[in-house]
Structures are given as C-alpha cells and as structure tokens.
C-alpha cells in the first residue's frame, strides 16, 4: 500500500513539474532586434532583416511558434529593457560571463572572431600592444572595449554606430579599430570599401553566439534550447547561414551569376534553336568583353590612385591630425574607389560630393557645388518625386540602411542608373545629424539585366512553344528545377520542386533505369528510348548534364513523344506481315497458274500439231480429187463447172494458208529469240522482191530510209517486215499513187521502225483492235487476208521487248511504228 502511494506521489510530482515547465505555444514570443547590426539584424524598408531574424523566423515556422519583433536603436536600450517584460529573447547574442548573469543562453550555434583593423594604406605595427600611442576605435558596449583595455590601449574613442566607427578609421580619427569581424566586413562590403581595410590582428577573441532568453523566463529557455540545437543541424539553417555570410552581393559575383545564367540558357537553347543561341552568345560575349574592359580600366585607375594615396598618406602623416586634415584624407581615400561618395551635413545643409560622384555623371570637380539641389535636379523626372519623398520619410524616421536605385542625368544628357546606399548619424537629441553614402553606376548592369530578362523571356517563350518535353532536375536531390509548358501540360500539374521520379513515373524512389550515372560519366548527350507505363507513352529521350545558373551540375532531358511513330511502326509491321502472307499466297497462285499455263501450252502444242496435220489432209483431198475430177470430165465440162471447181480449189488453198499462219502464230511464244545485228535493208529488199509482181501491177512506190541497224531474230523479223509490207501493198491497192515509206532510226536507246502507206487507213477508234487475232477492220471481200498478220507482228515485237503503235486515218493511210531496244543487251 505504501509503495503504491509513493509511486502515485512520484508520478504526481513528475506530472505537476512537467505542467509547470511547459511553455504555452500559443503565446507570442517577443524578439528584441537591433536596427543596425548587420548582417545579424538591421532594419530595411521598416522591416527587421538579417541572419538572426531569418534564423528565428524559420525556426518559429518549423515549430509553429508565433513571433513579434521589438526594434531597438542601441544595445544599451536593449539591455535597459531587460527586466521590463518588453521582450522575451534576443535572437543573437555573444556569450560573455557578464551576459550569462543577465540572460539564459542555449548552446552556441555560431562562433566568430574579434579582430583589429587598420587602413589598407597604413603600415602595420607588429603587435596590438604597439598601438598604445595611437587612437583606437571601439563600438560602445562592444566586447572590443574590453579587449582594448586588456591590451593596455587606453586612448580609445567609443563610437555609437558601426558606420561612424568605420568612417572614423578611414578619416584617420583613429588608426586601429577593434570589432567583430563578420559585422565590420559586412558593413564595409555594403559601402563598397572593403579594399580600404586591412585585418591587422586576427582572432583577438573568439565569441560564441546563441539565443539569449531573459532570466525570469526559464520555461521558455527549456522549451527553446533543445529545439534550437536540432534546428541548427538542418539544411535549412545552413542555407540561411550561407545566404548571409557568403559574398553574393558584390559586383563580381553578380557578373559571374549573370554569366552563368547565360551559359545555362545557352546550353538549353542549343537544343531548341540555333539562331537564338547565336544572338545569345554574341550578346553575352559583347557584354562580357565590355565589362572586362571596364574592370581593367577601373583597376588601372585604382592602382594609380592607390599609389597616389600612399604618397599622399606619407605627406599627410606629417601634418597635424586636425579634423580638417582628416576630412581631406578621407576624401582622398574615397576618390580611390570607383564608388562616388556623398556626405550630407543636414544641420548645416551642406552636401559634399566626391570627385568620383561627379565623374560618374561626367562632370569635373568644379562643375558641381555642395548643394542638395545639384543632386535633386539631376534625378530622372519619373524617379524624382518618389525618391525625394523616400528621403523625407527616412529623415523623419531614420532606421537601418537606406538603399535605393534611381536614374540621374549625366552631363551628356543621358541617364545613368545609380545604386545609392546610405547610413546616418544621430545627434545627442536623437535627431538625424548627417547622412552619408555611396553612389555606384549600375547602368550597365541594369541594361544588361534588362537585356537578359528580354532574352530569358524569349527563351522561355521558345522553350514553352517547343512541342516536346523539356525539363531540368537536380542530379543529387532529383528535384525538378525547370519544366516547359509541354511537360506541365502532359503531367497536368506543375512539377517544379517535386521529385522527378514521383512527378514523371509516379514512383516513391528513384527509377531503376535512371540515367543520371550514365550522363555523369558521358561527355555528350545520352540518347535512349523509354516507355512510361504510368502514362502509356513511348519516348525518344535525350539526356545530358549541363551546368545550372548556380554552378551545380543538373540533368537536362528532352523527350519526344513516340506514340504516333510506334503506332505507325506497328501498322507497318502488320502491313508487312500481311503483305508477306499475300506474297506467299500470290507465289502459290503464280506457281499453280504457271503449271496450268505449261499444261495448256503443251495441250495447245499438240492441238496445233493435230490441227495442222489433220485439217490439211481434207483440204488436200478436196484439191486433189477436184483435179482428178477435172481430168475425168475433160472436154465435157461446162464453163460454170470449171468456175465452181476453181472456187472450191481456191477456198481449200486459202484454208491451208490460214492453218499455216495459225500454227506459226501459236508457235511464237515458244520460239527462241536469237538476236543478231542485221541491216533491215536486206530483209526489206528480199520481201519487196517477193511481192514484185503485185508491186509492179499496182504501181506501188517505195521510199526507204535506213539509218539504223537492228538487233533482232532474223526469221521472226522477216515475218514482221513481210506482214507490214504486204499489208501496206494490199491496202494501198486502190490508191491513185500508192507510196510505202519505210524508215529506221535510233532514238533514246531504241531502234525505231516505221512503215507507212497512203492506203485506205483505218478509223483510230478501232486502233485497239488492230493487233487482235482475226480482227479485220476492212471488208474481207475487198481485201484478202486472214486477220492474223498484225497479231503475229505484235507478238514478235513484244518478244523483242519492244512495242508497236498504229496510227491511221480513214482513206488517208496507216502508219506502224515499232520500238525495240537498240542493242541486243
């Protein structure tokens, strides 16, 4: 029983103590922010900014905490409010023994050094202690005060602000300043005077920074510190750190990144359109060259001035260290930089413009006096009203830095883009005493940025108009960085920021077929084909490693949709298979048909043989027995009987000729063509002599013009000429002056043979029938013939791989033209 009670008691105590320690996360955490402590915290455009601010904002976001900021102008004010329950934490505070008594600190998350700085041009002394006779600058309430004291440097000037500390050094009010290295360098960088400073003694002290929680707020401390410990181990924290402490804001870096952007897009463009890349590269080159020239020019000027400055310094060193002298020296120091400096004494309304300030606008030293009007009157009309209002607002409520960009009219009438950065000093009443700052001519950068943005717009338009897929992803994280419209459209959602394997393949881990390793090993593009199951699409893919704007290697992919191609390919394969099948069937058919034809030919052969043999016998008998009959009848025969017997005889002879012709015709297909070179003249003469009687009777004239030999089978072409010539004679028989013209000549590798007559001709509408077997276009009683001659000619010409054409006009004549290959090959 006792044991149970004790357990309950322990649990109760534990529970109660937990409740007591728990921090109510609905409570707003109030954060004290110094307005002028860059890069940790400062106010710009009325809002707190800086590393510590970012850090704590992201931290709150991650743990879902509510924040509010309380702004302070000095550290003194912050410390004074410590116990007034105005704020809960200071987000970034160096840990010192004194402070540990006043605040609760978590584990340090950042370490930095306190260093001592001198002017670049001055000669450094060997040890910090050696500066005991020099004036040393420190920031009020800063650890530098302690370090100076510790090293016996008692001749110190305590400055209120970082800017006054910095200018105190440059103006030779002091010869050494002791300050936190990152803070001082950041400010110098902002004012573009890093090259005027020298770190003489590095790492005088190491300071650890952490979040400071007011002493009476232990539950908040216990709540925050473990979370901060884990937060500083995240990539998010590292990104914030890098964004504030790596030099991304200087001009060289800007140039570099501009160059990188153009490089990345050049390589993208390469895939899309060559013309655009031409313009791009041309512009980039021209500008890079321009900037280079400028840098060299500036370098030369700077060196010359540095030298001059050093000479002057030694001279000035000898002079009294009065304020007036110091101002002069400051001016000299300032002139050395490419940045124009102005210093506005608001109380006395006097503004100082450095020589460089004037020369940026193209003016000589004496051409501009020390009035504010010289500045305001040169503002671009479009910028003037706004900028003057900005200045007025700032003067009324000065805090942090004042950074503006505007245009100013140069002496030659052109406008220059100016980047103004300024700071201010307050008097004892907390009112603004003076403002000072720098002018930098950023016209070229501005123009180039504009040009670049136009080019980028053009590029983006082109890439988006590109009908195929383009995307870029990070090789290590698989995150998609860029996607063109076609890709977004295909995915039906914007994939930027998503993992490529998730967005494209709908997978939860990198694809097994990922080509990243291949393209990292490859020099050029890697081309492959891919089928995406999740969207049922075939792609022709081009992968390549390119350098992205920020310098990292990224994966560039261009994927062409091949679905249509695949479809066509499949159709083609299918058609091919069908065609093959058809071919096979056709082959079989042809084979079967050939067999049939062979059989038919053989049958025809034996048929023709039988016909010629058996049909001729009865004719012979008719003829023979009529003869016998005639001699038997002898004298008793009448005229009419003689005529009858004559007709019978003639008919049977005609029938015999017909049979012979038919047989010849049927044999033409089998005849072996034996081509030889021969002169048609010889054949023609032979045939003409054969028909000599008729030619003489009818008075037919021949006009023969032989210009070409022919390669033909002699026997077969004898038939050709015999048929054509006999036809010509036959159908010219009724003409008044029958003329038969025969020509041969060569034309385009063909031997041409023409046989023309001026006989009865034929109607061209029957031209198609003229070469048919037993086709006769004339009345058979008028012209003898079997109607098989031209069919025979046609077949012989075809067997010689030639062709024959017939041209006729009724009662005017006919013309036959044969084309056969000019050589036997």
């Amino acid at each position: 029983m006792n044991r149970i009670i004790s357990v309950i008691t322990i649990l109760l105590v534990f529970f109660l103590s937990n409740v007591a320690l728990a921090f109510d996360t609905n409570k707003v955490i109030r954060v004290a922010v110094h307005e002028e402590f860059p890069p940790y915290m400062f106010v710009e455009d009325g809002k707190p900014q800086g590393f510590a601010v970012d850090f704590f904002s992201k931290f709150a976001e991650r743990y879902n905490l509510k924040l509010s900021f309380v702004q302070y102008k000095t550290w003194n004010d912050i410390f004074a409010d410590r116990d007034k329950d105005v704020y809960d934490i200071i987000p970034n505070q160096g840990i010192t023994k004194e402070r540990q008594k006043l605040f609760l600190f978590g584990n340090p998350y950042e370490t930095f050094h306190i260093s001592a700085f001198t002017r670049m041009s001055s000669i450094s002394k060997p040890a910090l202690k050696d500066y005991v006779d020099n004036k040393v600058g420190v920031l009020i309430n800063n650890v530098g005060v302690k370090i100076a004291k510790k090293n016996g440097l008692n001749n110190t000037i305590k400055y209120e602000t970082l800017q006054s500390l910095l200018f105190g050094l440059l103006a030779a009010d002091v010869d050494l300043i002791i300050m936190s290295e990152p803070v001082l360098l950041k400010e110098a960088e902002f004012l573009n005077i890093t090259d005027k400073l020298k770190i003489t003694f590095e790492n005088l002290m190491e300071i650890k920074r952490s979040v400071a929680v007011t002493n009476n707020n232990t539950d908040l401390g216990d709540f925050l510190f473990p979370k901060i410990d884990s937060f500083v181990r995240t990539q998010e924290y590292r990104d914030i750190y890098i964004s504030w402490f790596s030099n991304t804001h200087n001009k060289d870096e800007l140039k570099k990144s501009i160059k990188k952007i153009s490089l990345v897009f050049s390589s993208l463009l390469f895939f899309v359109i060559l013309a655009a890349i031409y313009i791009r590269v041309r512009d980039t080159r021209r500008h890079t060259a321009m900037l280079k020239d400028k840098v060299i020019e500036l370098e030369t000027t700077k060196n010359a001035l540095d030298e001059m400055n050093q000479n002057l310094e030694s001279i000035v060193n000898e002079k009294s260290k009065s304020l007036a002298d110091a101002k002069e020296r400051l001016q000299l120091a300032i002139e050395a930089s490419s940045t124009g400096i102005w210093d506005w004494d608001i109380e006395n309304d006097n503004i100082f413009f450095s020589k460089m300030w004037k020369s940026i606008l193209g003016y000589e030293e004496h051409e501009i006096n020390n009035s504010f009007e010289e500045f305001s009157s040169r503002l671009h009309p479009e910028d003037k009203e706004k900028h003057l209002k900005d200045i007025k607002d700032f003067l009324q409520n000065p805090s942090g830095h004042f950074t503006k960009t505007f245009r100013m009219k140069a002496k030659d009438g052109t406008y220059r883009w100016i980047m103004n950065r300024s700071s201010f000093q307050l008097n004892e009443d907390g009112k603004i005493k003076s403002m000072f700052g720098s002018h930098q001519d950023i016209t070229e950068i501005k123009e180039y940025e504009e040009k670049l943005s136009v080019n980028l717009k053009t590029l983006t338009t082109v890439l988006n108009a590109f009908p195929e897929i383009l995307y870029i992803s990070d090789i290590d994280t698989y995150e998609i960085i860029f996607a063109n419209s076609s890709f977004v459209k295909m995915l039906e959602s914007d994939p930027i920021g998503k993992k490529c394997y998730k967005a494209i393949q709908n997978l939860d881990e990198p694809c097994s077929f990922c080509t990243n390793e291949i393209i990292l090993a490859n020099e050029g593009p890697y081309i492959w084909e891919h089928y995406n199951e999740s969207i049922d699409t075939h792609f022709y893919v081009n992968d390549q490693v390119i350098e992205w704007v920020d310098g990292r290697k990224v994966r560039f992919e261009m994927a062409v949709n091949m679905n249509r191609m695949k479809e066509i390919e499949q159709q083609l394969t299918k058609s091919n298979q069908e065609l093959e099948k058809m071919n096979l069937t056709l082959d079989k058919k042809v084979h079967a048909r050939t067999k049939l034809l062979e059989t038919a030919n053989k049958e025809l052969e034996s048929f023709a043989y039988t016909v010629s043999h058996d049909l001729r016998a009865p004719l012979r008998h008719i003829n023979g027995f009529i003869d016998i009959l005639k001699s038997e009848l002898d004298d008793d025969i009448t005229e009419k009987a003689i005529h009858s017997l004559y007709v019978i005889t003639q008919s049977s002879l005609k029938m015999g000729n017909l049979i012979d012709d038919l047989l010849k015709f049927s044999r033409l297909n089998q005849a072996v063509i034996n081509r030889i070179k021969l002169s048609p003249k010889e054949l023609i003469d032979d045939i003409i002599s054969e028909y000599n009687d008729e030619i003489v009777d009818l008075g037919v004239k021949f006009e023969i013009d032989i210009k070409s030999d022919i390669y033909v089978d002699r026997g077969l072409f004898r038939q050709v000429f015999a048929n054509l010539i006999s036809n010509a004679i036959k159908y010219s028989s009724k003409s008044e002056n029958p003329v038969v013209k025969i020509r041969t000549y060569t034309l385009d590798n063909y031997a041409i043979i023409e046989v023309e007559d001026n006989g009865i001709g034929f109607d061209m509408q029957y031209a198609g029938k003229i070469f048919g077997v037993f086709e006769r276009l004339t009345n058979s009683s008028e012209y003898s013939g079997m109607g098989i001659g031209l069919a025979t000619v046609n077949r012989i010409v075809h067997r010689h791989e030639g062709l024959i054409e017939a041209y006729g006009e009724l009662n005017k004549g006919a013309k036959f033209t044969i084309h056969i290959p000019a050589t036997g090959e």
Binding site: R616, L619, R620, H621, N623, G624, L653, G656
Partner: protein, 138 residues
C-alpha cells in the same frame, strides 16, 4: 523387171493412199504399190511376211497404233532392211518432224502439199529418183 520391184506406201488415210498412187501412176511409175494402213501393218509386212523387200518405203509420220517415226527407227536398226530408202510423208510443216526424220536416217522428207499439182510433182520426183536409182542399184 522394174515392175517386180514393189513400193510400200504406209498411210492410214485411204484418200491420201489413193492420191499418192494416182500421182505415181501419172508420173509413169509402174511399180506395184503395196499398202499398209499403219505402222503395225508396215512392221508385219517388212519383218514377217517374207516377201521381197520393197525398193522404196513411203512412210506417213502421223498414224494410229504405231507412228511412222517408230517404223523408221526399226527399219534403220535392222541390218537387212536399212538399205531400203525411206521417204517420210507428213501433212504438217513441223520442223521437229524433219529434224527427227533425218536423225533417224530417213532418206527423204516430203510435206504433202494441199495443192494437188504440187503434190503430184513431189510424188513424181520421189518416185523417179528412188525407183530409178534403185534400179541401177539392183
């Protein structure tokens, strides 16, 4: 003695047989003409009947049962008969028949013309040539 020497006419066509013998008569050839209706009868006549050998064989190519070409081959393969002149007769003008005939050692080849006078002419020449030359030979 000439008339004792026979001519063997082998033809399946009776009209042709008649026209040929008529033509031979017209040509003044008086030799006795024996007929055979086809190749079988011709073989029988030449090899089995033991009669005097004919002085001339006129042999039609196209015949039923046994063709002229086969008969020619048998005659020319036989040592006793091969000296008998054989003239092939045909109705067709097929080159192949001519080649084959000479290949089988025919002594002559005649394409029976449709025109009777031409036919008579041809037969007459054959008859005279072979009969007369044979007469001197015998």
């Amino acid at each position: 003695m000439l008339h004792d020497k026979r001519i063997l006419l082998v033809d399946d066509d009776p009209f042709d047989r008649e026209l040929i013998s008529e033509s031979l008569k017209d040509a003044g050839i008086v030799n006795k003409i024996d007929f055979a209706n086809d190749g079988v009868e011709a073989i029988e006549y030449l090899f089995e009947r033991g009669l005097n050998k004919p002085i001339l064989v006129l042999l039609d190519i196209k015949m039923p049962r046994l063709g002229g070409m086969e008969v020619l081959k048998r005659i020319k393969d036989d040592n006793d008969l091969k000296i008998i002149p054989v003239v092939m007769l045909t109705s067709s003008k097929e080159d192949v028949d001519v080649y084959k005939s000479y290949e089988y050692q025919a002594n002559g080849f005649v394409c029976k013309p449709v025109n009777f006078s031409d036919f008579q002419d041809v037969v007459k020449r054959i008859g005279l040539y072979w009969c007369l030359s044979n007469e001197t030979a015998f």
